[in-house]
């Protein structure tokens, strides 16, 4: 029997503080004015996207001990901007990145429950754990979390937050004026959680929201990250937007779900995807090259090189060859606050690869950096891009894509106007929302209520949510 045609999920990421955004383009808008975010959200909603997504960074990036100037700097507070966007949208999911190191479960639980109430059930949480003392300098209990404790902290934070949210079943508020009974259960919201991370008890103060809690996103790529997602997440914000890498990741992660008693369709895999659209494929390819040149300026190219080499390289010519010297070993002290440096697991080996590639293909520093720091995921005419997305989703390289335009807020318009209709015509993307909550848009079953009970032992990985 032939496989049923898979529906495509689409989302829009208003990019943050990295070089994806070409801020020098005359069409580039503000990254702080509300009108920019409102415009972006409205475009995503009229195109019937599942959700809008925001990243977060809690300390301005630095290089060589000075604030990094070359990319967009400055962003709004995640919860606050999402709550405001709930006022200018009606169906669009609102997904924000919230850190589990520099927050407390009681506060995060009430903020997500509130956002879910104020949006009629459209809140989502991308759970991240930063682990650096650099960011910690902005917080009361800043300090340092060893890398191997990242996922334990994230797991515990997530499960504790949901214990708070689940302390309200959803039937406690009677609000019966005649009888005078406002609350059916005088102990509503009671909770208790004691482990090495959180030692808290009392009563949570926000009754159950439409989705019963935020949809959970996770973005880790390591084995532990994939396992965490398989156990706890509703969707993965993945890095693998190509066909082969996508299929491999998809099969791997979906293959882990059975162990947790979860169906494969209850975890959506959504790679981030950049795109360049033009009338023809050839024009798009040329435009893509121009965009890459704009994203990787000569100064940016040297800065990226410095991040790998872990030292200053300002004497090098961006149009010249790569350094012959090896990167400085040890802890990366050059780039602070940047997640990407964690990806360079063996800088010396990577430097050698880059040198070899540059030599073989006659690439300057700038050209090499353009090559190795991420091409656009989808480059072509609307028909080409729509066909690629269709094919990749049907081939199980993903369940859809989180699109990241390089011009904000207007860069989403073209995709919405020209690509989405083609997917709609092929019957794989909605022509209108059928549900009101983000869980419904993503095809997720309603979140199961956990019975209210005192948790006195740590929640283990492997416990289905």
């Amino acid at each position: 029997m032939p496989k049923p045609v898979k529906q495509v999920h689409l989302a829009a990421h208003f990019p943050g503080v990295n070089n994806t955004t070409v801020w020098s383009d005359p069409r580039a808008g503000s990254h702080i004015e509300f009108s920019s975010f409102a415009r972006f959200a409205r475009t995503a909603e009229r195109a019937k996207f599942d959700f809008l997504f925001l990243a977060e960074g809690l300390r301005l990036r630095e290089q060589h001990g000075r604030i990094y100037e070359l990319d967009v700097v400055g962003r709004p507070d995640t919860f606050t901007i999402l709550a405001a966007l709930a006022a200018v949208t009606d169906r669009l999911g609102l997904a924000g990145t919230i850190n589990s190191t520099f927050n407390e479960p009681y506060e995060v639980a009430r903020q997500f429950a509130t956002l879910d109430h104020l949006s009629g059930g459209r809140a989502a949480w991308n759970v991240v754990t930063s682990w650096d003392a650099f960011t910690g300098e902005n917080f009361r209990r800043g300090g340092f979390l060893p890398q191997d404790q990242r996922y334990e902290r994230a797991r515990t934070f997530l499960s504790t937050t949901f214990e708070l949210i689940d302390s309200w079943q959803g039937n406690e508020v009677a609000a019966d004026a005649d009888s005078g009974i406002f609350l059916r259960d005088r102990d509503a919201g009671r909770f208790e959680h004691h482990d090495s991370h959180f030692d808290i008890a009392g009563r949570f103060d926000v009754p159950r929201s439409p989705q019963g809690g935020p949809v959970i996103f996770q973005a880790g790529d390591s084995d532990e990250g994939r396992e965490f997602a398989a156990a706890q997440a509703d969707a993965i914000f993945s890095r693998h937007s190509t066909l082969d890498a996508g299929r491999e990741f998809y099969a791997d992660v979906k293959g882990r779900l059975a162990r947790y008693g979860r169906d494969p369709d209850q975890l959506k895999i959504l790679p981030a995807a950049t795109f360049v659209l033009a009338d023809t494929d050839a024009e798009a390819a040329e435009l893509a090259h121009q965009v890459r040149l704009q994203q990787v300026s000569p100064a940016t190219a040297i800065a990226f090189l410095e991040q790998l080499w872990n030292r200053e390289l300002s004497a090098y010519d961006p149009d010249g060859p790569l350094p012959e010297i090896d990167p400085d070993p040890g802890e990366n002290t050059t780039a602070r606050g940047r997640a990407s440096v964690r990806m360079y697991r063996d800088p010396i080996a990577t430097a050698r690869e880059w040198r070899a590639k540059a030599e073989a293909e006659h690439l300057s520093i700038r050209e090499l950096i353009i090559e190795v720091t991420g091409r656009q995921s989808f480059v072509g005419s609307p028909a080409t891009i729509a066909a690629t997305i269709y094919d990749y989703v049907q081939a199980d390289a993903s369940d859809g894509y989180i699109l990241v335009p390089h011009i904000t807020p207007g860069g989403l318009d073209e995709f919405a106007d020209k690509v989405v209709p083609l997917l709609q015509e092929r019957g794989v993307f909605r022509t209108d929302y059928t549900g009101t909550t983000l869980r419904e848009h993503l095809g997720l079953a309603p979140r199961a209520r956990r019975a209210r009970s005192a948790q006195t032992r740590p929640v283990k990985v492997g416990t289905a949510p």
């Binding site: 801020w23 020098s24 702080i32 004015e33 509300f34 409102a38 960074g57 809690l58 300390r59 301005l60 000075r66 604030i67 100037e69 070359l70 967009v72 700097v73 400055g74 709004p76 507070d77 919860f79 606050t80 709550a83 405001a84 709930a86 006022a87 200018v88 520099f102 927050n103 407390e104 009681y106 009430r110 429950a113 509130t114 109430h117 104020l118 009629g120 300098e137 902005n138 917080f139 009361r140 209990r141 609000a175 004026a177 005078g180 009974i181 406002f182 609350l183 259960d185 005088r186 102990d187 509503a188 919201g189 959180f198 808290i200 009392g202 009563r203 949570f204 103060d205 926000v206 100064a299």
Partner: protein, 404 residues
């Protein structure tokens, strides 16, 4: 009717919003919406109603625990409103639906991060185009401390005073972070490839007894420069917080005489803390003081009294408040307001006993009466909250020679 009222003559009015109203039985009134207290529409309706009457601001009550009849610990009552939403997010949710009114949510300093609060209120200021405020409060409650498990509740009055000293530090950090970006830090200089000029960003490097914060903020300088900081104060320790940290203060006098005495006490605290109010964010401005009044308003005084009695009976006890409870007609309230003006108050923050009833009496009857008396304008006279309150935009403390 006069449209513009000179600052020296005009009155400022704010509304304190809390659940179904400040009276514990207000949720049982026929016009109450007790099943909608967690919906966006409920709050949007209240705030837009306040804006139509040209009120200066609304405040949103909040805490890090369930509401309780007991001020210091939870209760097990089922006949009261229990459950609430985070007030910063409520303010953000109604912001795009408004254009002129100030929005002042409540933050508990004792258990939260000043870095998060600073960027949240800065973002609210961006979303509103300069109408954000921050009402800061402390928490001495044991149950709230247990919700976080990071510290124990204060054991005695000395430790309660420390909570206020910490709150002053907290506000200092929030304000430094608001200044940590100069207004023109974003340069978008294509020639040099720089989006920002890093010399216009400043580490705040705050070191204090409860926290240290490096900075800069991740959020650019808010449109108001410094959003309006408010606090409720009943006694000398919180008056010191007003003096050191606030732009506006809510006080609870019982009559014109005590209002004048409280104003004098706050002025004395200001002089002791900071002669001339020289710190940059205060810029020589005295704290604008508002008298809180809890109001039962009806077309006839007897009806207001009957309503209050009825609500007290439903609640099972006479309602007591830290603020003066006014029961009467809007015209009588306008008289009281006029009587108290000579005390040196900037205005009044009204706590509606029942929502929407008492808010409607304020917007439809009290405000027109005050406008008729030429003490309240009929149009918004500024697009920012600081502007509405007659507070100039402060210079950035990190800019050595600010342009005039």
């Amino acid at each position: 009717m006069q449209t513009a009222v000179p600052e020296a003559d005009r009155l400022h009015l704010g509304i304190a919003l809390d659940g179904a109203g400040w009276h514990p039985a207000a949720w049982r009134e026929p016009t109450a919406r007790p099943a909608e207290l967690l919906t966006a529409g409920y709050w949007a309706d209240l705030v837009t109603q306040a804006e139509r009457a040209r009120l200066d601001f609304v405040t949103f009550e909040d805490a890090l625990s369930l509401q309780s009849d007991d001020r210091y610990q939870p209760d097990l009552r089922t006949d009261r409103v229990r459950g609430r939403l985070d007030s910063v997010l409520v303010a953000a949710r109604v912001a795009p639906l408004t254009s002129s009114i100030g929005l002042i949510p409540t933050v508990v300093a004792t258990h939260t991060e000043p870095f998060h609060t600073s960027k949240a209120i800065a973002t609210l200021d961006w979303v509103t185009g300069g109408r954000a405020g921050l009402r800061i409060r402390v928490s001495a409650r044991q149950d709230e401390a247990a919700h976080f498990g990071r510290r124990s509740a204060p054991a005695g009055p000395g430790q309660v005073s420390e909570l206020f000293a910490e709150a002053a530090d907290y506000v200092e950090v929030v304000r430094r972070l608001w200044d940590s970006w100069e207004d023109d830090a974003e340069i978008r200089d294509v020639a040099t490839g720089r989006f920002i000029d890093r010399d216009k960003l400043h580490y705040v490097d705050f070191e204090g007894g409860w926290f240290s914060v490096r900075g800069p903020s991740i959020t650019p300088r808010p449109p108001q420069g410094q959003p309006v900081v408010a606090a409720l104060a009943h006694a000398s320790t919180p008056y010191q917080l007003l003096a050191s940290s606030a732009d506006i203060g809510f006080i609870t006098p019982r009559d014109a005489t005590s209002a004048a005495a409280m104003v004098a006490e706050v002025r004395a605290s200001e002089a002791a803390a900071d002669p001339g109010r020289a710190t940059p964010h205060l810029a020589g401005q005295p704290v604008r003081l508002f008298a809180d009044l809890l109001v039962f308003l009806d077309d006839e005084a007897a009806a207001a009294a009957r309503r209050r009695d009825r609500l007290d009976e439903l609640a099972g006890a006479e309602y007591r408040s830290d603020a003066l409870i006014f029961t009467g007609t809007p015209a009588e309230l306008a008289d009281l307001i006029g009587d108290w003006r000579s005390a040196g108050l900037a205005g009044f923050r009204l706590r509606p006993a029942a929502l929407p009833h008492d808010l409607a009496q304020i917007t439809r009857a009290l405000v027109p009466e005050l406008q008729r008396r030429s003490t309240f304008p009929s149009q918004y006279q500024s697009s920012t909250l600081r502007g509405l309150l007659g507070l100039p935009r402060p210079a950035n403390r990190y800019v050595p020679d600010p342009a005039p």
